[in-house]
Amino acid sequence: MSSFRNAVIAGAMVAVASIAMAQTASKYTGVGRDATSKEVAAWDIDVRPDFKGLPPGSGSVAKGQDVWEAKCAHCHGVFGDSGEFFSPLVGGTTANDVKTGRVAKLTDSTVGRTTFMKVASLSTVWDYINRAMPWTQPKSLTTEEVYAVTAFLLNLSNVVPDNYTLSDKNMADVQARMPNRNGMTTQHAMWPGNEFNGTKVPDAKNVACMKDCATEPKVASFLPDFARNAHGNLADQNRTVGPQRGADTSAPEGKAPAAGAAAAGVPVMVAQATKAPEVAKPAATAAPGGADTKAVMALLAKHSCVACHGIDKKIVGPAFTDIAKKQAGKVDYLAGKIKSGGSGVWGGIPMPAQALSEADAKTIAVWIAAGAGK
């Protein structure tokens, strides 16, 4: 009985609500129209953490590797760990993280943060690849390719095995293996509503003390002298009228101008600040071995070695010059290492085995063993 009564009341309330809705809509006569299902389907591509919106389909790790190497590797590196253009996607996650759902390395301030170290929701990865990748041709991947590339990244992160095929059927299983799935919190005061049941108490509680507040201040951090001009000449970045000028950072602080410079009298106002920042570059030296070095460079590019190793700077793997110092003269050892890969010598990030010919490996090894000169 009561349920009948409630149903009537509920029905009446719905009717009232819909009348109110209709009135609101009709207030703006002739503005807007209903979207067709075709239009909604064309644009409504988002996928939520509960996988609402995920289209059916599947893609394998192997297929993902092919797509990756053709369309993704040039920005993100062959193993998704390049930081050359964007933050590295892969690296820093362990088998234990897959168990715990918390990435242990996030507490290590010396380790950079990759996408897979941070992301808790698998849907985010799928959704973003689908809507925004590749960088220069967003939305050009097929549904299968999106599944495949996602599977490949999961494989690189040791979340799924080499022979895995990711699909709409097993996304939830994989979600339960995401290395940082338990690493997010909404318990803070920085969401405007109550939807997350966060706190309303902000982090820091300063007080507006007015007199004799702090101890004598000590300057603890400032820009070093060598960075004085790192952002270009600040004289050119301030208005040339008013109570201030920009500091001339093209010269060391407080240095008098060179004799005769004052006579030039260049008005500050016409100076432009479009100079590119000076980036320290290693001095170019004549390459010992000439053509040989060139050939080695070509090999390093061909086999994507340089995605991970800089000549004289560490990227993901060690710099070639650093390897040269440590393994001077060990041609056979180096050739073997190049082909077999490994980890432990230079830290925990493994170098995968490389599919290149004996001859190429040897050529590169000879070059490294001899000092990795340019």
Partner: protein, 455 residues
Amino acid sequence: MKYNDVSSGRIRKAPENFLSREGIKTVFAEGKNGRRDFIRSAFAAAAAGVAAPTLLAQSNPVPKEGGDPNILNLPEHATGLGQGVSPEGSYGKPSKFETNVQRRQSPGLTQTTQASVSFSPLQSLFGIVTPSGLHFERHHQGWWDIDPSKHRFMVNGMVKSAKVFTMDEIMRLPSVSRFHFIECGANTATEWGNVAVPTAQYTHGMISCSEFTGVPLITLLEMAGADLKNGKFVLAEGGEGSSMTRTIPMSLITSGEVIVAYGQNGEMLRPENGYPLRLVVPGVQGVSWVKYLRRVEVGDKPYAAKDEAIHYIDMMPDGMLRQYTNIQECKSVVTTPSGGQVLLDKGFYNITGLAWSGRGKVKKVDVSVDGGRNWRQARLETPVLSKALTRFNLDWVWDGKPAIIQSRATDDTGYVQPTYKLLRAVRGTRSIYHNNAIQSWLVQENGEVKNVQLS
């Protein structure tokens, strides 16, 4: 000390831009050596290289001749015929003497210009409105200049009927115009651990404030018959390549604050800022102000978009990541004197700066010139608006000794802008986002101002 006491080395500001860079350099070098009386002759020497008629102008105060030649000798612009009205089709530009006032990139911050930032020149701006051409930029996948006749806006999800609107239709609806700041969540990010950049432009320049015009999003949701009871979240989606998405708090939408905007400072949005349509989410970090807005979806759960699940998440010291950190908390910065500037001499200055809060209005701003030991309350200039920049000013006479200038804002919730010490105690130094700590500028004896942090 009398105002015109020449022997003290005091100079009065000349009416023209009369200091060459070399002149300033010389003055500081000599000033450092304690030869402040050198200043006058240094300026004269610097002037020697400039056009002769201005020579006497550098010899303020009153030259022997009995007056400033800029006054005594009428200039061309007072004795000739000026230029005609702007030619057809022209768009007014700032004075040619203002070319230093530009958006700038921070070298080495990003590797591509399409996923990058340009900073607004806060140190050179007045009042609270950011000129549209100086509005900071943050793009995630490049910007576009989209034909408004082809742009469409869709409402779907938990609605009675999904709707599409043309720009013509959106602009027919009742509009509101409101001043709001937009601040990137990563503004001041470089300073979490230590000082990294030299000027207010780079420390705080990912904030701008404009008058935005558009339709409250709630109007459009109601037109579609949105389920506002169960629909607790709204996804906003851009129409550019990355189709950037963010989860928008429903509470701000139902309050009428969130605007689907097409207007910015009296004209249409600039393409870099989302022409022809962007979301305005007052008090919330800029990444939620989705540009090239093509769609909103009403849902009952949050969306964990890339920029709220991989980026724009705040790392805590224990490695936990805070998700959906939206509010830009109360913050302020002194814009003059500020890092990279040089004060021309001791004496009177107007300390000026900007304050804001993502939770409401700025209630007061205190300024210290002794590194936070003693504070004085600054004047707030009108208008003081909710979730908008607020300009503050304070009289100051610089005695030529080192000074550390700080500002500390309090908003109308009573929240007081924190020190670095307080903020780091909770958030550590690796959170990247939401650094609203008190900024310190060191004014050195030579007049040069440096970005510093205190212990």
